[in-house]
């Protein structure tokens, strides 16, 4: 799974650097996605 891609072309250099820092600190959210899948399976089981 890949998240939505951001258009960073209109960002200033500082904004782009900050965004890069945020990625480096928090990742792109995909690191533990495998563990989130469990709840999706549960949710489907509950008819959600």
């Amino acid at each position: 799974k890949t998240g939505p891609r951001l258009d960073t072309s209109k960002l200033s250099t500082v904004d782009r650097e900050s965004l890069q820092q945020l990625y480096e600190v928090f990742g792109n959210g995909g690191e533990y996605e495998w563990a989130l899948e469990a709840q999706e399976i549960e949710d489907e089981g509950n008819g959600e």
Binding site: S12, V14, S18, G27, E31, Y32
Partner: protein, 169 residues
Amino acid sequence: DAILKTKKTSRPKRKKKDDEDVLDRAADEEVSRLREAMLSAAADDEQSNREKLPATAKLRLLPQVMEVLRKTALAQSIIDNNLLEGVRRWLEPLPDRSLPALDIQKEFFPILKKMEFIDTNVLKESRLGRVVIFYTKCKRVVPDIQRAANDLVSGWSRPIVKRSASYRD
């Protein structure tokens, strides 16, 4: 005479510095040993989880870990020896996708909030931010812990976002 005087006055300082060095080294050794023990306990629990056995290695070590994490004097050693990598490993979901024991979560999140020395570099090195983001997203996390995880994410991202904002002002 002048040389002798200088030597005399510098001696107590050197002694103090030597003492501090010995203390720093002892602290570094203590924290480094604990980091290794934490990583090893995390690996043991992962193995037990894969074999569908109770995973108790981390819980057994938890009191010792908390004792070190609570010592504010060890902050520099905690940074230098990347002890927060151990914290990150302990907070990671287990192979069967279950979360670590609630006792671990309940001990770690409040103490992380108190650690004001956690900056962008510490987060990059330990990769702690990535697992905390997971706690903000996982529906199986209890509300108190999820709130604490959200607070940590806002606190840690504030200086990064602020840099952008202050540049525009």
